[in-house]
Amino acid sequence: MKKRRVTLLKILDGLAILAFIASFSPLVTPEHITEPFIMGMPYTLWAGLLVSFLFVILAYLVSIIHKEDNNAD
């Protein structure tokens, strides 16, 4: 069980690192590119919104994995 938890945490950390790198690469922040617009929003803004939500979701998943772990209480 603990081994599975550690593996899942490593996967989430890996995703977080990938999202971090993507945020500062042309994938999310291409220079001077505004298109495509989605719901009226320019590319970097909606891509940035997606990254923001992704990090909150990743944090939520970590919290589920840690749910039984109350070592510091």
Partner: protein, 471 residues
């Protein structure tokens, strides 16, 4: 408008006084006065951390940043804030565990215990004082100048600063951290409501989000992409800002204290996720305000633009609420920072509790006065100074993280390298040494050196060392 502001101000002050009376600590000990009893639930934890994090820098600085530099400001703050939430939830638990074992009073004291050397504590404390005082000062001065512009015939700028610092010191000295946290909750809610009413009004002006961005595009296409019209949001700038913001829960003592004193791990986790959602919800309306300014007031000064978006373009009731929200935003961050500096000092003192608390309270007053003096003298730009403050304290991040994560007693490598990094950073900021080293910005260069030092410490020097002082 002055009448409505005074009515709103009296109501706001009455609630503050009520909360201070409710939370007043008669027997002032480190636990009850400086750590708020160490039993903070999810809701209070969320609002106090959010109010501490989102300051005048958010209410005044971010709309102006969006207006001037465009939508890259979302990556600069919102994306970085949600990254911070991930770091908080991953490392926060380890910080709490270490804090429980080593009788946490403040991050500086924790570093002394972890490294077994006073140098580590002095570095953490010195870094916090050097980078927090100017940040507190610039917030107070920003709000005071703005209030003076709104009511030019009322009182001078310094008198507004004096009133704000006076309120902060009074309730910090009386109620301690618990009073600050309850007031933060009030101020956080107020800030949230105000900023959304104003943000919504800004979108309503255009009819929809789509027509708002259409209008912005017709005025300056550069605002809708990075690096923005002035080329500020380069990849290096965004990475440095992200590292600085991700480090906040561990490098800025007002936030790390809140992480440690949460009632339970479960409350911390809920607080962290809530903080991510609140970050998105608070920064979004500042984007609307910024885009509104980009269309209507592209050439105005910061003061003129903020005056219009918060006051003159709003109904009188909303404007009065906007002013109170602005004061609340500045106070809720600055009081926590001044108080945290006091707690950091306390954590370095080895005197009896009563005497240590007395000295701490004197120094909280002293830090308040210092911030007041700096606020009267300061002229710096709010967002960029906030970023300098975040980046400066982030230099301590690797040392603090090695201390928190290491199961052994680390060597003095990290404190020594951190002192050198802090000195280099300050010299670069005041222009004595270049701000670029090769192609790298000096901050990124220093972060790289600190990262290499951390790896050396953990994988080479740390091996074979004795256990930390708690074992």
């Amino acid at each position: 408008m002055l009448t409505k502001f005074l009515i709103a101000g009296v109501i706001y002050l009455s609630i503050l006084i009520f909360l201070v009376r409710r939370t007043r600590v008669k027997e002032k000990t480190t636990s009850s006065y400086l750590l708020g009893g160490g039993n903070i639930g999810f809701v209070i934890g969320l609002f106090t951390t959010a109010a501490t994090l989102f300051s005048a820098f958010t209410v005044i600085g971010m709309p102006d940043f969006f207006r001037t530099h465009g939508i890259g400001a979302w990556i600069f703050l919102a994306v970085s804030d949600t990254m911070m939430v991930y770091a908080l939830i991953r490392i926060g638990e380890m910080l709490r565990r270490k804090a429980r074992k080593l009788d946490f009073k403040g991050m500086s004291g924790l570093m002394v215990n972890t490294y077994g050397a006073k140098l580590a504590g002095y570095v953490a404390f010195g870094g916090a004082v050097i980078f927090l005082i100017p940040y507190i000062a610039v917030q107070i001065s920003g709000i005071s100048i703005f209030l003076n512009a709104a009511f030019p015939d009322a009182i001078p700028v310094w008198a507004w600063s004096l009133i704000i610092v006076g309120i902060m010191i009074l309730y910090s000295e009386t109620g301690g951290l618990r009073a600050i946290m309850y007031n933060d909750t009030l101020q956080g809610i107020l800030l949230f409501i105000t900023i959304w009413i104003i943000g919504w009004n800004c979108v309503s002006h255009f009819g929809s989000i789509t027509s708002m961005f259409d209008k912005v595009e017709s005025i300056s296409n550069e605002l809708l992409s990075v690096p923005g019209p002035k080329g500020l949001f380069t990849t290096q700038f965004l990475i440095i800002s992200a590292i600085a913001i991700i480090s906040l829960p561990f490098t800025q003592p007002q936030i790390s204290t809140r992480v440690v004193i949460m009632k339970s791990s479960s409350a911390l986790r809920k607080m962290a996720i809530g903080l991510g959602i609140v970050a998105i919800l608070i920064i979004l309306p500042t984007l609307f305000m910024g885009m509104y300014g980009a269309v209507l007031y592209p050439e105005a000064s910061t003061q003129e633009f903020i005056g219009h978006v918060l006051l003159y373009d709003q109904a009188e009731g909303v404007a009065a609420l906007g002013l109170i929200g602005l004061i609340a935003a500045a106070i809720s961050t600055s009081d926590s920072q001044i108080f945290a500096l006091g707690s950091e000092l306390r954590s370095l003192l080895t005197l009896g509790d009563k005497k240590a608390i007395l000295i701490t309270r004197i120094f909280i007053f002293f830090f308040g006065i210092l911030a007041l003096i700096f606020s009267i003298l300061s002229t710096e730009h709010l967002v960029l100074l906030a970023r300098t403050s975040f980046t400066g304290t982030a230099m301590m991040g690797p040392m603090i993280l090695v201390g928190i994560l290491s199961s052994r007693k680390p060597s003095l490598l990290m404190p020594v390298i951190t002192v050198m990094a802090l000195i280099t950073f300050i010299l670069a900021k005041i222009g004595i040494i270049p701000s670029k080293i090769g192609v790298l910005e000096v901050e990124l260069f220093l972060f790289s050196i600190l990262a290499i030092a951390s790896i050396l410490e953990v994988f080479l020097l740390g091996k074979g060392k004795g256990a930390t002082s708690e074992n």
